[in-house]
């Protein structure tokens, strides 16, 4: 009945006008506060819609925010929450560090105003503590990599023996500085803070000195890719891989290039194409059933989903990059591959 009334729209399109946060709606959140943490980091508190199902400390959410009119999705670890999920009082917090040229992070830290509505995904991620707290835990965090661990420290009272090594460029850059140092002082953690400008970058060989019993500890590491790679190598070298969990937000770094490899996922075809050949032509030549239309960029008949990758608009030279999870709609007739791209076809 409701469908028959609303067609060609769906009832939700009308209900969203009145209550976009209702149970059953696409999950949204309203930003209720933005609290600066350092000169380039801020905690964003979000009141999620009633469909919010809660999170495990350490998990992340994807948020979709309109920057300059364009919806951008990014993943951030949840570092705090209040209230019961699914009620009006529930809030979640993420802490964002503005990275140079970061479209979303700069927008969130410096320009977003409370009241802004964002799209959300349910929490996900394997970077979590087991239900029964391990006896001895080691956290190694760097920069904004503290955020998932912050969620764990705040909510898991059952952690009894925690060693925590946290790195930041300078003392002033430490997010949650007061709280982290407080945990060190009151004995909740054995806290070691390292500043790159003072101590140099953390060398994991120093762990023998900083946390002599690190081999006996279940370890969670979150920070820049360099640190994660080093940790994996270090733990592997000591035969302790199963004691280590790392959090990787960006398994692949997409660097636009000229031409490259196009993968058509469901056809299971990979082609090498130059930077002047439209993805449409490359696909057709390789025998992929490509949707097509005007072949000049005006009819949108060739739109397909790009799971990830980089492409260049042949008319304007503009580069479009899709991070994993972005699932962008792209026109294949006027775009060439710029590096690699994965197409859902």
């Amino acid at each position: 009945m409701a469908e028959a009334l609303a067609t060609p729209l769906i009832p939700a399109d009308y209900l969203d006008l009145f209550d976009p946060m209702r149970e059953g709606a696409d999950l949204r959140g309203r930003i209720v506060a933005i609290t600066p943490q350092t000169r380039d980091a801020a905690t964003v508190t979000i009141q999620p819609g009633r469909g919010w199902r809660g999170y495990e400390p350490g998990q992340y959410i994807r948020i979709g925010i309109d920057v300059n009119g364009v919806r951008q999705w990014r993943a951030y670890s949840v570092c705090d929450s209040t209230g019961i999920p699914g009620t009006k009082d529930a809030t979640i917090s993420i802490t964002v560090k503005a990275i140079p040229d970061g479209v979303v992070s700069n927008h969130l830290v410096h320009r977003t105003q409370p009241g802004c509505v964002v799209m959300l995904d349910q929490a996900t991620g394997e970077f979590v503590l087991p239900r029964t707290a391990p006896e001895k835990v080691l956290f190694i965090t760097a920069g904004s990599g503290i955020t998932p661990v912050m969620g764990m420290l705040r909510s898991r009272e059952d952690l009894t023996d925690v060693a925590h090594v946290h790195c930041a460029p300078t003392a002033a850059d430490v997010i949650f500085a007061k709280e982290l140092r407080g945990y060190g002082e009151n004995g909740r953690t054995a806290y070691i803070e390292r500043h790159d400008d003072e101590h140099g970058m953390l060398d994991l060989a120093d762990l023998d000195r900083l946390v002599p019993d690190w081999r006996e500890r279940d370890t969670w590491v979150c920070g820049p890719t360099g640190l994660l790679d080093a940790a994996e190598a270090h733990w592997e070298a000591h035969g302790l891989t199963d004691r280590l969990t790392v959090e990787r937000f960006r398994p692949t770094i997409i660097e636009p290039g000229e031409g490259g490899e196009i993968t058509f996922l469901s056809s299971d075809v990979t082609v090498e194409a130059d930077g002047a050949t439209p993805i449409l032509d490359a696909g057709e030549n390789a025998g992929v059933l490509m949707p097509s239309g005007c072949r000049m960029g005006i009819c949108m008949g060739c739109i397909v989903t790009m799971r990830q990758g980089a492409i260049r608009d042949l008319r304007t030279g503009e580069i479009t990059v899709a991070e994993p999870g972005d699932n962008l709609s792209v026109q294949t007739c006027v775009n060439a591959v710029a590096g690699t791209c994965d197409i859902e076809l």
């Binding site: 364009v70 075809v269 002047a276």
Partner: protein
């Protein structure tokens, strides 16, 4: 009715189902193929102009290939400038229009619940609700539906306001409309024999279209077409005429494909009719407004049909707009394509409200140059397009709505008769055609 798009005639490497690309991972290097000429600016050549039957001169004959390239470059730069400046304001604009439309529709439908109530002999709620619903339906089809389905708002990456997802309040399913409109009409604009929008296969709106006996009735066809416009569009997008004419020569596969699309149209018609003519009237029944709500919906759809038809016929049919021969677009470059779009379209002047009610199709010239540019930006580039066209001595066709509509109606009447030919009376041409028709038992087909 609609010819196959260019690709099926020229591309020999379309996929054969026997290519074993699913039988395991295939890796190949793409051959470098010749890309669509309309993607390049360079390489415009002085082309031979094949005179048309009417003897009208070549509207771009005075331009050198260098000038054509320069026009292409200039328009590309203008496009880029606007596309780069799209932002928050534009996003807010379309969301506001959508929100306004939805509130207006809901409000009007709520008012119509009481449309049966009589005050001093008139039904004030009927008038109010019907007016609101008509405007809501027009906004939905024009400023929202048409433009969203053109991909004008795809850049926002909002899956709800996206060309791939939008379904409009019209009996033609959006997928079929996008094919015949975005792909065929916008690519082959005003090319005789390629662009069936030129008279929709039932009207002769250009002297260079073939006259047949069928044309004699076109003032009537035109009025029927306008009143039933959404159904005409659905039949047109479905290519119903072509099917009826060619079905005996069609393969089983083609017929099955047609039936699937026809089914899609029937489902859409059923959904639309159920909503407008059954569910909403039924909801008004407890308030004694079932019948009046039904008439309100009929009238609102009729008003929308006539209005959209009126706007659309002003886009390509008024006096001064050019048509093109098939041969003139072979190997067409971007600049030449731009030229054809500018010369093949005409604007309607008017207020901001009128522009919104036409879905900014009153800026038909700008829309045809940049069909994927957000419609709220056409007004600002309009003076620059006019200036460019003036500089190159090209005619920018524009006029008030009454003027343009009158121009089209005049053509519909005049061109219902055959062209004047030296040494033969038109009466005789018609007689001859009638004799032939009796002999062949056919009106000689529809205008092309």
């Amino acid at each position: 009715m609609t010819l196959a798009p260019e690709r099926s005639a020229t591309q020999d490497h379309t996929v054969s189902p026997t290519v074993p690309h699913r039988a395991g991972s295939v890796r190949t290097a793409a051959q470098h193929s010749e890309v669509n000429s309309r993607l390049r600016i360079e390489g415009a050549e002085a082309r031979e102009f094949k005179p048309k039957r009417s003897g009208k001169p070549n509207p771009m004959g005075h331009l050198t290939p260098e000038q054509v390239e320069e026009i292409g470059r200039e328009l590309d730069a203008l496009r880029q400038e606007v596309m780069d400046s799209r932002g928050e304001k534009d996003a807010a604009y379309i969301r506001k229009v959508i929100k306004t439309q939805r509130y207006l529709e809901m409000g009007s439908r709520a008012v119509l619940l009481f449309s049966g109530v009589k005050v001093k002999g008139v039904k004030p709620f009927w008038w109010l609700g019907t007016t609101g619903l008509s405007i809501a339906k027009i906004l939905e089809n024009m400023e929202i539906g048409h433009n969203v389905m053109h991909g004008q708002w795809d850049w926002m990456r909002d899956p709800k306001i996206h060309s791939t997802a939008w379904e409009w309040d019209n009996v033609s399913p959006s997928s079929q409309w996008k094919h015949s409109h975005n792909e065929l009409h916008h690519t082959f604009t005003n090319v005789l024999g390629r662009d069936n929008d030129l008279g929709y296969g039932i009207l002769r709106v250009d002297e260079d279209q073939r006259w047949t006996l069928f044309c004699l009735g076109q003032p009537i066809w035109h009025v029927i077409n306008a009143a039933m416009f959404e159904y005409s569009i659905a039949a047109y997008d479905l290519e119903l005429g072509g099917y009826l004419a060619k079905r005996n020569r069609m393969s089983e596969e083609e017929k099955a494909e047609f039936r699937a699309r026809a089914q899609e149209v029937l489902v859409k018609i059923r959904q639309q009719a159920t909503k407008d003519y059954v569910v909403h009237p039924a909801m008004a029944a407890p308030f004694g407004g079932a019948k009046s709500t039904l008439t309100a919906n009929v009238v609102a759809n009729l008003v929308r049909n006539i209005w959209t038809n009126t706007v659309i016929i002003c886009g390509h049919f008024p006096e001064g707009i050019e048509t093109f021969e098939k041969t003139s677009i072979e190997g067409e470059t971007r600049g030449e394509w731009y030229l054809r779009q500018m010369l093949g379209s005409g604007n309607i002047s008017g207020s901001k409200f009128m522009h919104i009610m036409t879905g900014n199709l009153s800026h038909q010239v700008e829309h045809h140059l940049f069909p994927d540019m957000p419609s709220n930006r056409y007004a600002e580039i309009s003076p620059r397009i006019q200036e460019l066209m003036e500089r190159y001595d090209l005619k920018y066709v524009t006029g008030s709505l009454p003027k343009q509509v009158f121009s089209v109606y005049k053509k519909v009447v005049q061109l219902s008769l055959p062209n004047k030919v030296e040494g033969r009376r038109r009466r005789d041409t018609i007689k001859l055609a009638a004799k032939r028709a009796i002999k062949r038992k056919s009106l000689g087909g529809r205008p092309r």
